[in-house]
Structure formats: structure tokens, C-alpha cells
Amino acid sequence: MTTASELRERFEKERAAALQRVNEATDIASLEEGRTRVLGRKSPISQARSGLKDLNDAERKDLGQLANSVSADIEEAIASKRAVFEERETKLRWERERVDVTLPGRHYEVGSIHPLTRTLWSLIDIFVGLGYSVAEGPEAELSTLNFDALNTPFEHPSRSPSDTFYVKGTDEEVCLRTQTSPVQIRVMQSKPPPIYVVAPGRTYRRDAQDATHTSQFFQMEGLAVDKGITMADLKGTLQRFARATFGEDLDVRLRPHFFPFTEPSAEMDVECFTCRGAGCRICKGEGWIEVLGCGMVDPFVLEWCGIDPETYTGFAFGMGVERIAALSHGVSDIRGFYENDLRLLRQFGGMA
């Protein structure tokens, strides 16, 4: 028969022993093994607990509380020890799993979209934002639409076979379009105003190749025909375009010029973005860079398309895409755009 005081002593002794054991555990496994030893059914503490039933009520209550607190202390010690071990394990795992982050990632070849395509897209997007749609037309085009409809009579030098490609066997009735302007004619013939379109595409001229000329090149044409379209509208539209393309704070000017299919006609100059108008090599000392041709659609052209020039007016403009791409990307020889050299193309892989 164990007295209450003996039992108390046993609990206290086992607590100390158990805590020491917990403390001596070296890893989670030995800790778990220790837990069975000190708290399991056959543990000294469990055995001591069985002595409680021989005590009177008051003693049993008192020592029962002690027994519980001993168990709780041991559990707590195990838990905190376990947390230490777990943290250590985790740390070891991170070390095992460490990678050298400075090694390169797996290789994915990043392709690219051609600089001319990119330029075309950005030009188109500006005008789409201003309410224009995109129109297309054939590259092998009726000479009537490429020339006659655009007020370019048959004796005009641009029509000569030294300047324009013709399709064999067509008696010069079919040419390779020398401009995207015939798309204007097709659009005006196919639907009544209001018309707001841009027409990008490939064009052909029998020009000798040099740094600024190729016999195949891209143009983008724009056309607006509506009631009450004014030259001020043309000016405002092109100013928007020029600033979006070349820089918001640049000066833009329309300079009178001559085109057979517009009247009044103009060329648009943008302040040289290299020298800001002071004159440099890029702008040949002029301080201005010629960007495109434009004007109010000639009444002759409107009438040719069956549109009454007294009711409707319109403007049109056309630009060379290679030239704009060259200006935007600092390309001095546009033939580079057609060499398809990966060393050049890769430079256009990163552009949004």
C-alpha cells in the first residue's frame, strides 16, 4: 500500500526522469520512442496512477491533479522538443533541395515578328483607334484602277514599262500596283460614304535598289470620305498619327505638294527627332523629315467612283512603311528588311 506522500514523491520523481529523457532525445524517432516509455500504458507514471485508487477522496483529487499536470508538462516538453526537431529537419530539407539559381533556365527559342509587320500593325492600330477599318485589294491590279481612276493619264511617265511592272499578255491592262491607292477606288466603288479605311499592302515599282529604294515595298493608304470632311480634319488626323508614331511633343507641318489624285495636295514633315529641327545628317540639314503624301480627294476621283463631290468631300494619305520602320528603328539601309538575317531579326524579338 502506497501512501499519498509516497505517491506524490513518485510522481515528482517520474516527472523529472521523463523530462530528462525527453531532453535527451536526439531526433523525432527517439522522441516518439521516449513518449511511449514515459507516457505509455506500461510507463512508471501510468503505474503510479494506478496507486490513486487506494487513496481517500481528498487525496485522490489532490494527487489526481498532480498526475495530470505531470502528464501535461511532459506532453508540452515533447511538443516543444518536437518543434525544434521539425524545424531542424525542415532546414535540412531545404539544404538538400538547394539549387544554383544562377544557372540559366531551360532554353526556349523566342521567335520574332518582322519589323515591317510590327510597324504596319502599329500604324493600323493608331487608325483603328481613330475609327478606321482595314481594307485590302489585289497586288496585280487593273491599270485603270491604279492609274486612270487616280487621274494619272496614259502619258504619265509613271505608267511607262520602265517604271511599272505589267503582267504578260494583258496589253498593259494589268499591272503590279505601284501604290495602295487603287484600294481607295475599290472601297469607294463598293460602298457609299461614310468611308474610313486604311489599306496596307505590298506595292511594286521598277526602281533600282539602293539604301532607300526597293522594287517591292509596303505602303499604307488612308481614306476618309464623308459629308463635311475638311482639310483641317486631314491635318488634325495626321498630327495625331505623327505624334503617336514619332513622339508626342514633335512639330508637324503640311507642305503644299502635287499629286494627281488630291487637290489640295501636301507632304507631311515631322520635326527631325534627332536634332529637334536644328538640322543634322538624318534630316539632311533641313530640320524636317518628310513622312508622307496626302491631300483632299480630287473631285475627279470621287466622280470616277460615282460619289458626288458637291455632297461629299474626303481626304487621303499614303506612306511608305519601310521608311517609317527605318526612321523608327534607326535603320539606314532598308534592304536589310528583306535579307532575313537572324542576327537582325532576333533584335526584334523583345518588342511588345
Binding site: 527559342e109 518582322h114 478606321y132 476618309a224 503644299p256 502635287f258 487637290e263 473631285p299
Partner: protein, 795 residues
């Protein structure tokens, strides 16, 4: 058009700086292409006379030239030019003098001392002409500074004259513009001609009045041909024309001044003193002043005498009637010619001259007598000659002055700015138009020097450019909503996905030549041979519009391989062209791609992986998937330019969309690309047509799927697509996904067989399939595969 400012100021008061004048001209539509400032430092160059020319003892191409500047002292220089003679006056750059590019020092040239240099026009910065020395007028005073003699200190404007402005091809015309811009009056000098009572022996017969609306002759006799005075030679040089003789220079001077081309014939070389203006006859020939013997075309307009052609009307005279040093009697032609006729002849013979450049823009019959009189006056003054009072002048149909009505309100409406009526009238008057103001309209009479003004809108343009375009406000029209259509969006998506998959976009020529197709070794009946041929190709290698992108793709590949860029994945989206029954060829958008070298270059983790058939096929499939269209199906295809057993035709639905595969080794060799290079070409029309514009959402499955694997053994020749097709058919409707995960041929299975392993996903919409149900489906599939494809389950 070169305009020396000193010359211009003779007709109009210029009270602004050259920079201000340049800006105003630019903004009026006559662009100043360049401003030639006084040619840098030119100091100490003086007029000298050639005393003696002897050959250089050590060099055949050089001479030793003795010159004097008049003070008695004689200098000797070594000279390479041959175009001068003893007695000529030349520009002598003494030791110590300065030219824009150099300072002159004493030098030994091939062993002979040269104390200075004799200058060409290009060395003096006058023109690009360095073909010989600049020979100065005989009246140039010895020892005088060449800068003063030649007015080299004058600023010269080089103008771009648009093709609609014949009037601006003259100093007077430019002066009229400048007067309008500066609000100054135009002073046109009098012709100032004195005629004498001599008989004009010449007759004029114009047989083609349409080609030659006005023809006037002035007869001049007692001419002594010689150099022109220094002032005239200097102005011609500044204007870019080389002085020749007092007669020729007078005609050129007046042409530049008035815009009216003139030509002087030696009257003694004109048979019967009779001028005939007519079209050329078949087989006729003419030796022009440039020494070229030309075969004439019956549409060439000629100036002739009764026995021979004398010159190309409005373009260039003939050698047979040229003014010679001994010429004493002249017939001076002043005429107008049809611009179309001049343009065609000039182009046909590749002969562009100062005269043709003016006639092509249009001519002014009113200028004809004035220009003739003014040139005759200069010839009389500088060649001691006299001119007859009578001047034969054939001018049967003087044109009416055009009258054009301008509604000033229309101007304001078209320009988008209110321009008062009187302002419009003032601006039109400032360029020499006669304007009457009526109610709500202006009646404008157009002088003959402005043939470009025929309609109201032409006058609106004149008002607008004189007002300056920068006065217009910047406004935007109120357009509808814009946007890209479905195929434009699909095209952009395709370019983006292909570049995302590692391909680089290229643009190549639309042209091809026969050789391109020959190198592909296409069969005779291959449709690519049916090409749209060009009438006038620029190169033998680019004679037709291309029917296939393959040659260009292979060339682009070869270009990069040659530059040691051997890992190549390129694509192009462009048009091909084929003849059609319509007037215009058919144009179709195609996607082409070329793959070669490594798909993955290999790195510290993975071995390198070359582009192969399935690498390329994966790109094509991913591209189609990105468009939301069905994957194309592939069937083996034979025939060039492909590898006989590694190429496929691609079909969408029932139509063939394209082909791809390894390029035949022979073709690789011909295009200089490595064996194993792959190409693909797909028509995008049918692809884009199959693009779903709007995605309709399918409900997500609510019950889990069941998965089974199927390992089959079939004859090696059975296509995988056939097996997959049968799985779909037999497994319907439960099978929702079929994925091949293994292909095996080898020792484990009988020879001539292959093993294919598939992972299948099975589901029904309303519940989870039990394993028993899945097994039933599997048995159903196996049964069909056994019957239809001879397949056995692999054990």
C-alpha cells in the same frame, strides 16, 4: 531648278533672309531641296591666260601648262585636263590660295614642279562637272578674283518644282511666287530688241498643229560666234548650265529666265530656208547634239527642212544644223510643243533635257515671241548681229483664256477655316490671275502660264497654299467605330503564336524565276509551274509572280546557314499568285515555314534536339490550335520537293490545305541547306474560314472520368491515325480523349509489327462510369480494332 538669288532679285525685291525665304517657299509648295551657300573659302583664285601647253615628259595623261595672270610673270603648272587651248582664260589657283577642299601648295608631280592648279567647275563648287577645266569667258579680266567674275559669292537655291508647275521652271516664275509670298511687285524686263530692215528668208510649215500649237522663227544675221560675256556665263554656271558660246548661251539664259526653251539653227545648214514641223517617217534617223545616231519612231515630232530632220521638237537639236564657230546666219526657234508628245519621245529615246523637262510640264504660247525677242537681243548685243523685223509665227488657234468660277464659301468648307472672299481674291491676284468679285463668287481669268488651273478646286488649292496650311486648325472627323475583321485578327494571332513557338518572321520577294522551281525538281504537271509572268521583269531570276514560298524560304535558310546561323526556324505569311480565267490573277494568302538545325540547342540539363518531322508537325498543330480550328489531318505524300517517305499532305475537312515535310536531299543540295531541312506551306484561306469567331462555352463535366490504357500490336504499315480513328468510332460516345503515349518496334514483338499504346479518357455526362462499364467500352474498341485493323492486345 537652280535659282541664284542674285539673278532672282533682278525681278523681285527680296527683303528677307535666305533662311526666311526658304521657309516661305517650302510652305508655298516649291520645296527648297538645298541651299548652296558661297562655296566655302575660295580665296586667291584668279583669272589666268594659257600661254603654252607641252606634254609632261613622264606621264602621257598630263601636260605642262604655262599661264600668266597679266602682270608679266609666268607660272608653270601640271594639268590633267585636255579641254582647253592656248589663249583660253582659266581659273588659276596659285600657291597659297584656298579651295573648299584644299589649300594649294607647290608640288612635284611625276618629277615636274607644279606651282598651283587649274580648276574645274567641281573644284570651285559650282557644279559636279569635273570632266575638264572650267574655261572662263574671253572677256574675263586677267588677274581678277574668280569669285567676283563668276559671282561665286551668290547663294543658289535648288528647288523641287512639282510636275504641274511649268511656270516655276523659270526665274521669272519663281520671282512671281516670291512676290506673292513677300507682297512685292514683279518686274519683268522688256525684251529690249531693236530690229532692222533686213529680209527674213525663212518659211515655216507646221504639219502637225496639235503637236506644235505655235511656232515662231527669228532670223538673225552677221553673227560672230564667240564666248559670252562673263556675267552671262557666270549666271549660267550658277544655274547649272555650262557656257558654250554667245549664241547657245543666250538661248539657255532666256530659257532659264522665262521658262521658254529656244533653239538656234545655223540658217546655212537649213535647206531652202524652210522649216517643217512634222512627225518622223518610218526608217528616218537623226544624229542629235549629243552625238548619238537615233532611229526615229513615226510618233516622234520633228523639226525638219525639206530634205532632212533637223532636231527633236522640244527635246534636242540635231548635229547637222548645229551652230558652229563659223556660223553667221541663225534661225532662232521659239515654239510650243504638246507635252504628251514630248514626254513620249523623251522617254522613248532616254533623252531628258532642260527643254524637255519644261515642255513636259506644259507650255505658254504667250511667252513665245517675248523669249525669241529677248534672246535675239542678247545675240545681237554679244555677237554683233542684226535681226529682221518680220518673224514667221504659225499660231493658227490661239487658245481662249480659261475662266473659272470660285465660290469662296466652298473654299472655307473644304479647308475647314473661314477665309473671307476679299482675302481669297487678293491671294489669287498676287500670283497674276485676273479676279472679278461677284456676289458669292469670284470670276477668275487664268493666264496661259498657269495651264494647271482649270477647275474651282485648283483655285482653292492656290488660296490654301498662299494662306499656308499651317493656318488651318487641327480637327478630327467624327467617324464610326473602327476595328480589325476576323481574318486580320486570325492573321495577327498566327504570327504571334508562331513567333511564340520560336519562329522568326521573314518577308521575301513576291517574284520567282524558272530556276527556283527547277531547283525544287517539281514534276511537269505540278501546279506551281502555272505562274503569272511579268511583261517587263527587272531580273532574269525574277520573271514571274511566285506560286510557292518554298524557294524563298530555302534561300533565307541558306543565307543564315552561310552566316553560321545553323539553327533556323523561319516563317512567312504572304500571297501567292496564280493565273485565273478572270482579268486579274488569283491571289491567296499562304503560310510558309522552314526548319533546320537544332530545335533545342542543348544545355546543361538536356541534350540537343534537332528539328525533325514531328517537331515541325507540332508547331503546325499548335498554330492551328491557337486559331481554334480543327487540327489538320496528315496523309503521306510523295513527289518533289519532298523526301519520299517523310512528307505529308495536310487536309482540313475534305480540302487539301498544304503540305510539309523533310526536303528531298537532292533539293537540299541545290539550295545549299543541310539535309533534313523541313518546309511547310499551307493555304490560309480555308484555315481562316474555319476559325470560330465566337467561342460557345460547353458545360464543364460534373462527374469524374474513368481512365484506361490500351496497348495494341498492329502491322507496322497501319497508320496511327487509322487506329485512332477506329478508337474514336468504336468508343463513341464514352471516349472523350485519346492520347498515344508509346510506340514500340523491336525484339519484344514479332517482326513486321509495331506496338501502339493509348491512354483513353471515358466519361458520360450524368454519372461516373463504373469499372465494369469502362471494361465493356474497352472490349468494344478491341473487337473493332481486331476486325478492322488486325490489332491484338499486347500481353
Amino acid at each position: 531648278m537652280r535659282v541664284p538669288l542674285g539673278w532672282l532679285k533682278e525681278y523681285v525685291d527680296v527683303d528677307v533672309t535666305p533662311a526666311e525665304l526658304r521657309e516661305k517657299l517650302d510652305m508655298s509648295g516649291t520645296k527648297v531641296e538645298a541651299v548652296h551657300e558661297p562655296a566655302g573659302p575660295i580665296e586667291g583664285i584668279v583669272v589666268a591666260e594659257v600661254l603654252e601647253v607641252t606634254p609632261h615628259p613622264n606621264a602621257d595623261t598630263l601636260s605642262l601648262v604655262q599661264v600668266t595672270v597679266g602682270s608679266g610673270e609666268v607660272e608653270r603648272v601640271v594639268c590633267g585636263a585636255k579641254n582647253f587651248a592656248v589663249g583660253d582664260r582659266v581659273a588659276f589657283a596659285r600657291v597659297g590660295s584656298r579651295l573648299p577642299e584644299m589649300t594649294i601648295t607647290e608640288r612635284k608631280i611625276r618629277g615636274e614642279v607644279s606651282k598651283g592648279m587649274l580648276c574645274s567647275a567641281s573644284e570651285l563648287g559650282i557644279s559636279k562637272d569635273h570632266s575638264g577645266l572650267l574655261v572662263l569667258p574671253a572677256d574675263a579680266e586677267l588677274g581678277r578674283d574668280v569669285v567676283q567674275v563668276l559671282a561665286l559669292d551668290d547663294i543658289v537655291f535648288e528647288l523641287e518644282v512639282t510636275p504641274n508647275r511649268p511656270d516655276c521652271m523659270s526665274i521669272v516664275g519663281i520671282a512671281r511666287e516670291v512676290g506673292a509670298l513677300l507682297d512685292k511687285e514683279l518686274h519683268v524686263p522688256k525684251a529690249g530688241l531693236t530690229t532692222v530692215d533686213i529680209e527674213c528668208p525663212a518659211t515655216v510649215d507646221v504639219l502637225d498643229v496639235k503637236g506644235c500649237p505655235r511656232y515662231l522663227l527669228r532670223y538673225i544675221e552677221n553673227v560672230s560666234v564667240g564666248p559670252s560675256p562673263a556675267w552671262m556665263a557666270a549666271r549660267l554656271l550658277a544655274a547649272g548650265v555650262r557656257p558654250i558660246s554667245n549664241v547657245v548661251d543666250a538661248t539657255n539664259y532666256v530659257m532659264i529666265e522665262t521658262g521658254q526653251p529656244l533653239h538656234a539653227f545655223d540658217a546655212d545648214l537649213v535647206a531652202e530656208q524652210a522649216i517643217v514641223v512634222r512627225r518622223a517617217k518610218e526608217g528616218e534617223r537623226l544624229k542629235t547634239l549629243d552625238g548619238v545616231e537615233r532611229d526615229l519612231d513615226p510618233s516622234d515630232l520633228l523639226i525638219a527642212d525639206p530634205v532632212k530632220p533637223l532636231g527633236f521638237a522640244g527635246i534636242m537639236g540635231g548635229e547637222d544644223s548645229e551652230v558652229r564657230p563659223e556660223t553667221s546666219r541663225l534661225l532662232l526657234e521659239s515654239a510650243t510643243f504638246d507635252k504628251v508628245s514630248v514626254a513620249f519621245s523623251s522617254r522613248r529615246h532616254g533623252l531628258r533635257t532642260e527643254a524637255s523637262a519644261r515642255f513636259e510640264r506644259g507650255s505658254n504660247p504667250d511667252a513665245v515671241p517675248y523669249a525669241a525677242a529677248r534672246a535675239a537681243r542678247f545675240i545681237c548685243e554679244t555677237a554683233g548681229a542684226q535681226t529682221a523685223r518680220r518673224e514667221p509665227d504659225v499660231y493658227p488657234h490661239p487658245p481662249q483664256r480659261a475662266r473659272v468660277t470660285l465660290r469662296p464659301r466652298r473654299t472655307s468648307r473644304l479647308l475647314g477655316i473661314d477665309v473671307p472672299m476679299d482675302d481669297q481674291a487678293t491671294r489669287l491676284r498676287s500670283i497674276g490671275l485676273k479676279v472679278k468679285e461677284r456676289t458669292e463668287r469670284l470670276e477668275v481669268e487664268i493666264p496661259l502660264f498657269r495651264p494647271d488651273l482649270t477647275r474651282e478646286v485648283d483655285l482653292i488649292e492656290e488660296v490654301a497654299r498662299l494662306l499656308r496650311f499651317d493656318r488651318l486648325p487641327n480637327t478630327l472627323p467624327s467617324g464610326p467605330a473602327g476595328g480589325l475583321d476576323a481574318s486580320a485578327i486570325a492573321e495577327r494571332t498566327l504570327r504571334r503564336i508562331l513567333s511564340g513557338l520560336g519562329l522568326h518572321e521573314i518577308w521575301t520577294s513576291s517574284f520567282m524565276g524558272r530556276e527556283d522551281l527547277e531547283k525544287l525538281a517539281l514534276s511537269e504537271d505540278h501546279p506551281a509551274w502555272q505562274a503569272v509572268e511579268l511583261e517587263n521583269p527587272m531580273l532574269d531570276t525574277e520573271t514571274a509572280l511566285r506560286t510557292t514560298l518554298m524557294p524563298a524560304l530555302l534561300k533565307a535558310c541558306a543565307h543564315n546557314v552561310a552566316h553560321r546561323e545553323t539553327d533556323v526556324a523561319l516563317f512567312e505569311i504572304a500571297r501567292v499568285y496564280e493565273p485565273s480565267d478572270e482579268k486579274l490573277p488569283r491571289e491567296a494568302l499562304v503560310l510558309g515555314a522552314v526548319f533546320g538545325g537544332m530545335r533545342k540547342p542543348g544545355d546543361w540539363q538536356e541534350p540537343p534536339e534537332p528539328w525533325d518531322f514531328f517537331g515541325a508537325k507540332g508547331v503546325i498543330e499548335a498554330a492551328f490550335e491557337s486559331l481554334g480550328t480543327r487540327r489538320p489531318s496528315a496523309q503521306p505524300v510523295g513527289g518533289m520537293p519532298f523526301h519520299p517517305t517523310r512528307a505529308a499532305a495536310l487536309t482540313i475537312g475534305s480540302s487539301i490545305a498544304g503540305a510539309f515535310g523533310e526536303v528531298h536531299p537532292d533539293v537540299c543540295a541545290r539550295y545549299d541547306v543541310p539535309e533534313g531541312t523541313l518546309v511547310c506551306e499551307i493555304s490560309l484561306g480555308p484555315v481562316f474560314a474555319a476559325v470560330q469567331e465566337k467561342v460557345q462555352l460547353r458545360e464543364l463535366p460534373r462527374f469524374p472520368a474513368n481512365y484506361i490504357d490500351l496497348a495494341l500490336v498492329v502491322d507496322a504499315g497501319v497508320p496511327a491515325a487509322r487506329v485512332e480513328e477506329l478508337i474514336w468510332k468504336a468508343g463513341a460516345p464514352e471516349v472523350t480523349q485519346v492520347r498515344i503515349f508509346d510506340l514500340y518496334e523491336g525484339e519484344q514483338i514479332p517482326a513486321g509489327k509495331k506496338s501502339l499504346a493509348y491512354a483513353l479518357e471515358l466519361r458520360v455526362p450524368d454519372r461516373t462510369l463504373t469499372d465494369e462499364e469502362a471494361a465493356t467500352v474497352r472490349d468494344r474498341i478491341v473487337l473493332v480494332l481486331r476486325e478492322r485493323a488486325g490489332a491484338e492486345l499486347r500481353t
